[in-house]
Amino acid sequence: MVKVEHLGKRYTTPDMDVEALSDINLDIGEGEFVSLLGPSGCGKSTLLRIVAGLIPATSGRIAVDGKVVSGPGPERAVVFQDYALFPWMTVRENVEFGLESRAVPRPERRAKSTELLSVIGLTDFADRYPHHLSGGMKQRVSIARALAVDPSLLLMDEPFGALDAQTRRTLQNELLRIWSAYRKTVIFVTHSIEEAIYLSDRIVVMTARPGRIKAIIEVRKKRPRDMATTEMNEVQREVQGVLEDELVHTSDVHADEITAH
């Protein structure tokens, strides 16, 4: 489904040269739910944006469904952290935006948005504007907008990062429900270990400077997952172990930099 090979990304400006991603290799299967987990600055969002085709890679390549990615494509849709809804469009118009962009006739758009609004439980809000909605509702609309274009790959960039704990759990469960109903492949960026474990089939743990894949941890437990079991605790400790290793490492680097100055 998704094949990432020797991917690298450098940001070069006259006064700096940062290696954001280095030698990323990753294979994601059809229908798989994969999280990209790591501290801020590890390049997980950069990787997601490259897969989305929003920014180019410096080296290596990405193929989705066997086609090399050189820009955005109809088989991919993105859910952004800050919802990115258009305030001047009603909830329904926002959901239909991808379809409108593809010149889908109005009656078809209507049918699709009606279906998705009921899936996300916002039928009564179809004609409201986004600023009337809570954060959780906004992110539901954003998810519906992505689903409307029927992508095979759903890219989610810390979608629940700005939500309170309770809303977050509700939306995680809804996402899992939607994921199993619509059978999408999902790449999910998060910095929450708990969230990654609760949702994913596999967790890609990334390290900072340069952004590299440190470990890929499989979570085999059936859903819905009870996070309080010893089994889940063990997974949590395992992931934490990998990340803490990384924290020690980065603070070493930091210490080196300080002494270097």
Binding site: L54, F80, A84, P87, E100, S101, Y129
Partner: protein
């Protein structure tokens, strides 16, 4: 209003503190209104006092009462209506033309760096030329009357529309542009559904400014290059030695400017950017 009631649980009165706070806010609002009106009344009283003191000769300085009488005269004989309509027609034509040309140019300048590099310097160079400076040329090109006045209004106002529209596009959140790229939105749909509504708060500001400038320039233009309009009415009153009519013209300009600024543009904002939650009060 509907918003605040929907937030409070049904059947439960807001706490007394909230009620008292709202009352005091209302009192504060009423006090501010009274102060504003009071100052206007004071202004008219000072005006009357200066007239009574005869510092300025009576044939050059009308009393408030004489102005009211003059108003009655030019309303009854139809000159006020005729000249006001002429000015409004020119003003609307000029501002609408400025919008029709200025908004697309501003969108282009905001969205395309090549267009910006090519066109921005000349826009910056033409912008500081006062509209009035164009009048003699406009008379040579279009003669005295409608077209030259409209031209001057157009040329005075278009820069505000262009620069504000451009700023509106440039300050659009990057996430909106990302969404358009993800869904591969065609160019025309992108302009219509994202650029224009996204830049609308700025576009409205640009139109407001262009309207204001046009209304200021039109009077000068009509004094020089017209035989009808409020500017003509004021200038013509000079030849008749009728300062009361001049003041009538000025008051009419003030009222129309005030009404259209506050009523029309505020109405447009309520209908659009305020409804969308894009205006922070």
């Amino acid at each position: 209003m509907a918003k605040s009631t929907s937030q409070a649980p049904l059947g439960i009165a807001p706490p007394i503190g909230v009620e008292a706070a709202r009352k005091s806010l209302q009192r504060e609002g009423a006090r501010e209104k009274l102060l504003g009106i009071g100052t206007i009344i004071l202004f008219v009283l000072i005006w009357a006092a200066i007239y009574a003191s005869k510092i300025l000769p009576g044939w050059a300085f009308p009393s408030p009462w004489q102005v009211i009488v003059a108003f009655n005269e030019i309303v009854t004989n139809g000159t006020l209506l005729k000249n006001t309509l002429a000015s409004i027609e020119r003003q609307f034509t000029g501002v609408i033309l400025a919008a029709v040309v200025g908004v697309p140019v501003g969108l282009l300048l905001g969205a395309n760096s090549t267009a910006r590099a090519a066109l921005l310097p000349i826009c910056r160079l033409l912008y500081p030329i006062p509209g009035i400076a164009w009048i003699p040329l406009a008379i040579l090109w279009f003669g005295v009357g409608f077209t030259s006045t409209v031209f001057v209004i157009f040329f005075s106002g278009i820069w505000y529309v262009i620069f504000n529209t451009m700023a509106g596009v440039q300050t659009l959140p990057a996430q909106h542009l990302d969404v358009a790229r993800v869904y591969m939105t065609p160019r025309w749909l992108f302009a219509r559904r994202i650029l224009i509504p996204g830049a609308l708060p700025f576009i409205i500001t640009g139109l407001r400014l262009s309207y204001g400038v046009g209304w200021r320039v039109i009077i000068g233009a009509e004094m020089i290059s017209s035989i009808v309009g409020l500017g003509f009415l004021i200038d013509d009153a000079r030849w008749q030695l009728r300062p009361d009519i001049m003041v009538c013209g000025m008051i009419t300009i003030a009222l129309i400017g005030w009404v259209s600024e506050t009523l029309f543009f505020d109405w447009v904002e309520r209908l659009t950017v305020e409804r969308w939650g894009m205006k922070t009060n």
